[in-house]
Amino acid sequence: MSIEFIVILITALVFDFLNGFHDSSNIVATPIASRALSPRAVLWLAAIAHFIGPFLFGTAVAKTIGEEIVNPNAITLNVVLAAMLSAVLWNLITWYLGIPSSSSHALIGGLIGAVIVSVGVEALKPQGLIVVTVALFASPVLGLFAGYLLMKATLFLARGASPRINWFFKRIQIFSAFGLALSHGANDAQKTMGIITMALVIEGVATEFIVPIWVTALSAGMIAIGTATGGWRLIRTLGWRIYQIRPIHGFVSQFAGAGVILGAALFGGPVSTTQVMSSAIMGAGSAERITKVRWTVGREMLIAWILTIPAAALMAALLYWPIQFLF
């Protein structure tokens, strides 16, 4: 095994860890902030779901990234390494700033930047880029509307209820958080699994593209550990900084988010879990009172989301040369 393979393996696992650490905060923030469960219990729950997920299903994200954005022939080990390193950096930057942003977009951006530098613009697939761009702008809008409408409906249905209904809003989040974490784990650990397997094939260790069980276990384990660590800066942003999440907001944003993600999956349009969940929280709050949401936080997020792909692409392009020089 070459040194580069080992470097890629480690980087992929770091990315996987950060992926769990970073993106699962969207799922655990509302149950934590609305005190549906203790933070420790929520994080454990999400970690277990993230560990189970990769064994069950999901190839969509990995397929999009591996085949549809750039020409698969252009993806070399150096490209993958540059893309992952830039995604890791972008995740660390946004984590430090406390802004939830999509790890998948960071990886897509990294891939685009590295491929442009190594092969050229012609290796990009316009159709895939359009799909990703549309999803980038559609996700926040869909999340916002779904959160808004479900909140209005819930408020209408709960108008005769006593505050004891909070018990329901809290308990139900345990199931929704588990389901969301399962699907997130399934989709996102795929990226790492795909990258490691691809490296194995290129190395000649594996003869065909079949994910070995130890790769699945390793990827599932890392994303679960990342989840259990808890991206507290991001959880604070989502649970408190947009507005103080109460049980009803947690319930509404989880179900509105899950609805959008499932719906998008059925129609084959990829949406970002991060963007849908964060904007569903804002939608739920604005249905109650438009001024309840601190829109400056929303603006910060939107800027970060738009910047994710270009910034990751730029970093990957800059990282590509030293990598090329080393390996």
């Binding site: 108008r159 005769g160 209820a161 209904i165």
Partner: protein, 209 residues
């Protein structure tokens, strides 16, 4: 199934009506104070004790309803703050009437001045809760008026206390002075509740409109 029935045909939760009712009682209790000051000997037509008891009952109902309702027209803590401020206002004015009777204090021009200001304050508070739902801006104007009245009451309070302190020489005079000081202190406390009320109205206005 209770929940389902309520969903289809919800009981109207009349928090604003209850608050207006509390506002009405604030006016009634100040009227009782005024009546006593006009003719201290006579038993008052408006029984202060009864007004205070009725007002307490309204507040109890409001708190009960609040604890039993999930979707409220305003933030629940704001409704509670308004209700509590009104209730405390009523309690302090009631205490004032009681103390005047127990201490057997004769009405003074200062006391009449206080009761005049308190009356304006009570009707401003009552109007503020009445306008809260449909005309938030007007409610804020009434709340601003409450704050102005509180300033006037505090001015009068300081002047009155200064006079009490400077005009005391003998021991019986000292006792009278202490009685009077106790009464005006509670009037000042009632006015403080008015400010809490007014601040809450302004908070609500900032949030909602």
């Amino acid at each position: 199934m209770q929940w389902f029935r309520n969903m289809v045909r919800p009981e109207k939760n009349d928090f604003l009506k209850l608050l207006i009712e509390q506002g009405n009682h604030a006016i009634l209790i100040v009227e009782a104070l005024e009546e006593y000051l006009r003719e201290p000997g006579k038993p008052t037509k408006k029984n202060a004790k009864q007004v205070e008891r009725d007002a307490d009952e309204i507040q109890r109902i409001l708190v009960y309803e609040l604890n039993d309702t999930f979707v409220t027209p305003l933030d629940r803590e704001d409704i509670h703050a308004l209700s509590r401020a009104l209730d405390n206002f009523i309690d302090y004015v009631y205490t004032t009437v009681e103390e005047l009777q127990i201490f057997q204090l004769a009405p003074t021009p200062a006391l009449l001045g206080f009761s005049e200001l308190l009356k304006d304050m009570a009707s401003s508070m009552q109007l503020a809760v009445e306008r809260l739902q449909d005309h938030g801006g007007v409610a804020v104007q009434h709340a601003t008026n409450v704050k102005k009245l509180e300033n006037q009451i505090e001015d009068l309070y300081r002047k009155t206390v200064a006079e009490l302190f400077s005009n005391t020489e003998t021991v019986p005079e000292l006792i009278e002075m202490l009685k009077m000081r106790e009464v005006v202190r509670h009037i000042s406390n009632a006015a403080d509740q008015g400010v809490i009320f007014a601040d809450t109205v302004m908070d609500i206005n900032i949030k909602v409109y």
